[in-house]
């Protein structure tokens, strides 16, 4: 939460990884909201990246938003809990909160797997 922490160069932020998609409409747009580089934030990013690589290889785009830097963005996606992943595309918007340690629920939350 300290501002000094957020100023440090962070490999996670803006390293939106995406292979060039062939079909634009099929590209998944994901947002990960964090507050600085906390342990849970880093863990969440790592897990999200892992899931996307496994399930959506080349068809995703992750934007990491650090609310300590851009607090005004919290309102738009109704962010309360940290970390939160918002699936902006494809519609409908889905929100999952937590550090994604429960991979199964994360997959269900992202609509990558039907709830059992």
């Amino acid at each position: 939460m300290t501002p000094a922490a957020s100023k440090r160069p962070r490999p996670a932020t803006k390293r939106a990884t995406a292979a060039r998609p062939k079909d634009r409409s099929s590209v998944w747009q994901l947002r990960l909201y964090v507050t600085g580089q906390t342990r849970t934030s880093l863990a969440a990013f790592a897990r999200l990246h892992l899931i996307c690589e496994r399930e959506l290889k080349g068809r995703y785009r992750i934007t990491v938003i650090d609310l300590l830097e851009q607090p005004q963005l919290a309102k738009g996606d109704q962010i309360l809990a940290i970390p939160t992943v918002v699936r902006k595309l494809p519609k409908p918007v889905r929100t999952i909160i937590g550090d994604l340690s429960d991979i199964d629920r994360a997959l269900v939350g992202l609509d990558l797997r039907a709830a059992t």
């Binding site: 939460m1 909201y33 507050t35 849970t40 609310l67 300590l68 607090p71 005004q72 919290a74 309102k75 109704q78 962010i79 309360l80 809990a81 940290i82 970390p83 939160t84 409908p92 918007v93 889905r94 929100t95 999952i96 909160i97 937590g98 550090d99 994604l100 340690s101 429960d102 991979i103 629920r105 994360a106 269900v108 939350g109």
Partner: protein, 606 residues
Amino acid sequence: MSPPRRTSAAPVQQLPKCPTGIQGLDEITSGGLPRGRPTLVCGGAGCGKTLLATEFIVRGATRFNEPGVFMAFEETEAELTANVASLGFDLAGLVKSGKVVVDYVHIEPGETQSTGAYDLEGLFVRLNYAIDSIGAKRVVLDTLEVLFASLPNETCLRSELRRLFRWLKQKGVTAVITAERGREQFTRHGLEEYVSDCVIVLDHRVNDQIATRHLRVVKYRGTLHGTNEFPFLIGDEGLSVLPITSLGLNHEVSRERIATGIPRLDAMLGGQGFFRGSSILLTGTAGTGKTIISSNFAHAACKRGERTLFFSFEESPNQIVRNMHSIGLRLEPFVKRGLLRFRSARPSLCGLEMHLATMFREIEAFKPAVVIVDPITSLMDLGTTSEGKGMVTRLIDYLKAGQVTSLFTSLTQAGHALQQSEAGMSSLMDAWILLQDFEGNGERNRVLYVLKARGMGHSNQIREFLISDHGIDVVDAYIGASGVLTGSARAAQNSLEKAAVLASQQEAAQLEREVERKRATLERHISGLRSDYETEAAELRRIAEQVGTRTFVLGAERAASGRLRQADVSVFANVSPNVSADVPANAIAGVPRGPRAKPTLKKASR
């Protein structure tokens, strides 16, 4: 709190307070909510939690120059703005001018999936951002408990909420957190565990089909506060709590006296009428003339150029004006000039608190010098006795604080003990005039007397008052051995007394005549006696003369015959002294009576 402590070298630091600006709430909490600490406001649905919170923010921004953040979990900004617009709060304007931030927090429970550990850092960031963007001093979280429904993992949530409240304290903002009332605890999710500085409970109850909202400060650390349940209402200008007991008894008092409009009644009240700013009670059974005396009072006030507010709970304004016209009291010119204002309403229109608030508002707006409530009893019937008394207390305190003279009429039920219904009210009143019916001789007559009048010498007499087509006339009732007489009995008694006076006058004259007659008789008697005496005396004198002559003749004859018969001289000598002595003695015997009779005669001749 005691004076010695306050004057000591190191004054005890009072808990800093944050005034809410809500009418009455600051009085109960002696200054407001604890500054820089969170306050929990809980209550069931529809008791005004959100409104209290909104007013706290709006008043802070408008009146105390303390910007505020309203974090709404239930209503959107637009909804909130629309809801409070009816109370005259321009939320959108305040938002535009940067005094208030409304942040609508919405979580769709169905869309949110929990995948592990989380914290509420996002909420903190949002709140922090909102606070810092306008330099907010006040924060409202309405209603935080929504989070329990939308976020999983209650343990995690609870620890985060604990952290939130601690953070709010650190931040130094005065926060109001609203929560639903729980079944066994103050809040459904036990938020009172975290917010322990100040807890306010709101309540909405229905008594006798009339709903009343109540507010109670359950807990307030580090300060004195009213612990009672105070009725409050949501009016046109927001919330107003009506504290009954918090008002002190330290009104300014006036020595000025104001006339009642009835000269004889003024005379009964030490010759000058009531004190300005006093509270006057006028009680009486139906038809004893309460409204008429009130109207007279109003008329007199208007004639002096004072504004008068007349609350009528029985008659419409037009009806009063018409009725008063019939006794020669013209009120409509004053109504037209704006000096006299009537407010008529049925008592059952709304609850006691609403009536009271309406009256407060009217008084606030019209700023009258005299307020008349006719009758107060129909208002008091709306609530329980204690509520009614509380209401009158508040009203009187309010009026006295503003030096407004108040006159309340009170309808006593016929046949009841005179003071029964007013016993509770009377202690609040400075003057009490009782109107009564006297029934007898097939008629009813009105009387009045002054039961009490604080701070002035007043008459202890019963007066009869007559209502005629030229107003009220207070006259002396007849009070005598046979009791109090009024009406025709009084008139009859008066003529009886007149007759009695006449009779005694006649008797005196007769006695005078008798004396005169007796004197005349006496005089007659005396003159009769005198003439008798004179006659008798003359007769006696005549007889005496005759006797003398006869003796002389006899003596002469005897001497002559003796000489003739050559008789002894001594015989003649023996007889003659006796005879001569007898006659003068008899003649002289009447003389001593003469001087005794003489004064009588003199007197008689006077």
